[in-house]
């Protein structure tokens, strides 16, 4: 049964339009002009309980707005949403006890106090008794490798430690649904890996549903068997990363290492030349022609090594966003 359901969900913001310069400022002062910006345009999907789903898209695609609507933070302009059997924007207490929203650069911890002070407040707000709160804090702190950091003022913690403490605060009430917006933003590689492994562990232990946005595709590939790709407010893809890869690139990448360097012009007949650097060549070849092309390459050229792979998903998505190839 779906625990998250979005039906033609949309959000339009009204934004002030101001031209730069003094004249623009004066015009803006005398007569305000506004325009409507459609941040999310009729997105529909559903997510089963316990799923981990990646939410991909460039800046301004509507990912965060969708998460805000699903968590009940903002009201949708159209369509409907249902999360854990509740209409999110009503923000009923029973609903709020079942969800959490973590926004990478926004914090709920009190800046000048140690995280434990904020955790005590959260425990009281969510009605956890002292023993339960202590047990959960210890358990989560162990999973997140947090120790004496919990007794140091938040302002004295590193970004990674702070993010982990934020996660602890957001998960203390053991929510069934996690909305995570860039939870690894700004973290170094090691900290990213630790947060990823924690999320996977948490999902396994609690059976929690996770909807995750990240600019780091490694987060998505490591955690989410299913991805939603949103672009210019609309849903472009709902499925696995592999399916997305096939859809975005009906080609495969052929890497060649040659015995002797060859001019770039020699490769046009085999496929789209990605790079030609001395003896190293990269070609994009249509999937249906792959066997034939590989056979011809081996017959025509002196090949020392040959490797066939899918083009990196980051590259494909990046190209999609840059070129606006979405229909």
């Amino acid at each position: 049964m779906a625990i998250i359901r979005a039906e033609r969900l949309s959000k339009t913001y009204r934004v002030a339009d101001k031209q730069p310069g003094l004249a623009g400022t004066l015009r803006h002062f005398v007569q305000r002009r506004h325009r409507d910006v459609a941040a999310v345009k009729g997105v529909s999907f559903s997510i089963e309980a316990g799923e981990m789903v990646g939410f991909l898209g460039p800046n301004g695609a509507g990912k965060t707005t969708t998460l805000k609507m699903l968590s009940g933070l903002i009201h949708p302009s159209g369509g409907s949403a249902e999360v854990a059997g509740h209409i999110p924007q009503r923000r009923q207490a029973d609903f709020l006890r079942q969800i959490t929203l973590v926004m990478g650069q926004k914090q709920q911890l009190i800046w000048d106090l140690p995280p434990l002070d904020s955790l005590r407040v959260n425990a009281a707000v969510y009605g956890l008794d002292d023993a339960t709160a202590r047990h959960r804090i210890n358990e989560l702190a162990e999973m997140l490798e947090l120790g004496e950091e919990l007794t140091r003022p938040v302002r004295k913690l590193s970004l990674g430690q702070r993010m982990k403490a934020e996660l602890l605060a957001a998960l203390l009430h053991q929510p069934a649904v996690l909305f995570l917006d860039e939870p690894t933003l700004g973290l170094d590689i090691n900290a990213q890996a630790r947060v990823r492994s924690f999320l996977a562990d948490y999902n396994r232990r609690q059976g929690a549903t996770v909807l995750l946005t990240s600019h780091y595709l490694a987060d998505i590939t490591a955690l989410c068997p299913r991805v939603l790709l949103i672009h210019e407010g609309g849903l472009f893809h709902d499925g696995s990363l592999r399916e997305l890869s096939s859809r975005l690139a009906p080609c495969r990448l052929v890497r060649l290492e040659l015995e002797q360097p060859r001019p770039a012009a020699d490769f046009a007949r085999y496929g789209e030349l990605e790079a030609c650097d001395g003896r190293d060549v990269r070609l994009l070849v249509e999937r249906e022609r792959l066997t034939d092309v590989v056979a011809r390459l081996l017959a025509d050229l002196e090949v020392r090594d040959l490797e066939v792979s899918d083009p990196p998903i980051e590259e494909l998505i990046g190209r999609l966003f840059r070129q606006g190839e979405v229909a």
């Binding site: 913001y13 914090q107 009190i110 407040v121």
Partner: protein, 307 residues
């Protein structure tokens, strides 16, 4: 015995009286649970906010010191009281305001105390939180966010307390003739009046703060209220110095209840106790539903800026 339609024998349903007893018991249980939960949340919020305020104790001391306007006004009014006295026209009503110098001193000291414990700054804190996106996590917890600001104010009042006591002690050292101990009844009524004054001030500011959902700079509106507050609250002068028409107009606003009434009450001055407490209850009864309605309408417009 009356047979039941299904012929399965009589069923024992709880009668209306036991139903009432049952539901009353359940209601009491729920109420008890809510009160315990509320008490726990209040303790946690107050202790964390108090810890936070202690981090800023120097700032709190400066805020307490910056509220010495009533003492400056006392200096001015004292001079006005001395002048007619020197010319032979002095007396108990030296400045023509119905207060002698000692009463004047006590009034302004009490105005200082009332101001210290009824001051509200929720509009500034709320506006900053709304603009910076810090309101978002508060909105996603099962606790009305305004309670956090209430706790912050109360914690700040507790932090101010020692500084206010020190300032009052210094005042009595400089003006020993003004020293007095209020009667227990007046003291308790004064404390209650200050709390109610704080409640009115907090609700009034909350109404303005909630306008952040419509206008990003709601604090500008609060500044508009500052001038009438300054003059009509009794902070710069006892209301007795105003012309009767002004005084009558002032009593249609909540401002005299915020400083002048608690100050007169503590200082032992003439004051309409029942009428003023009734007016306070009236203002709270008016402002509370307005705050709730504005909140419900405003939060629909929240766009989680900065987040």
């Amino acid at each position: 015995m009356r047979a039941t339609p299904g012929g399965a024998g009589p069923k024992r349903f709880p009668g209306p009286a036991s139903l009432r007893r049952g539901s009353r018991g359940q209601l009491l249980d729920n109420l008890g649970h809510r009160l315990r939960h509320g008490g726990r949340v209040a303790r946690a919020l107050l202790s964390s906010q108090y810890a936070l305020m202690l981090e800023y104790r120097a700032e709190t001391a400066l805020w307490a010191l910056s509220g010495i306007l009533p003492f400056i006004m006392l200096g001015i009014w004292d001079q006005l009281a001395v002048a007619p006295a020197a010319s032979g026209a002095g007396g108990p009503d030296a400045a023509g305001i119905g207060l002698d110098r000692v009463q004047l001193s006590r009034y302004f000291l009490c105005a200082f105390v009332a101001r210290q414990f009824s001051v509200a700054w929720v509009v500034y804190a709320f506006e900053e939180d709304a603009l910076q996106g810090r309101l978002s996590p508060y909105l996603l917890q099962p606790l009305q966010p305004l309670w956090r600001y209430v706790a912050a104010h109360l914690a700040e009042q507790l932090t101010r307390l020692p500084f206010v006591v020190i300032i009052a002690a210094v005042f009595f050292l400089l003006q020993p003739q003004a020293f007095w101990i209020p009667t227990p009844a007046r003291f308790l009524a004064g404390v209650l009046a200050i709390w109610l004054a704080f409640t009115i001030n907090f609700l009034l500011q909350s109404c303005i703060a909630i306008l952040c959902f419509w206008s990003e700079r709601a604090s500008a509106l609060e500044r508009l209220l500052f001038i009438p507050y300054l003059f009509l609250s009794g902070l710069v002068a006892p209301l007795e110095v105003f012309p009767p028409a002004w005084r009558a107009a002032a009593h249609w606003t909540p401002f005299p209840l915020m400083v002048a009434f608690p100050a007169q009450l503590l200082a032992g001055g003439p004051v309409a106790i029942s009428a003023s407490f009734t007016a306070m209850a009236g203002w709270i009864a008016l402002l509370l539903p307005i705050t709730v309605l504005l909140w419900r309408a405003g939060v629909r417009r929240y766009s989680a800026m900065g987040a």
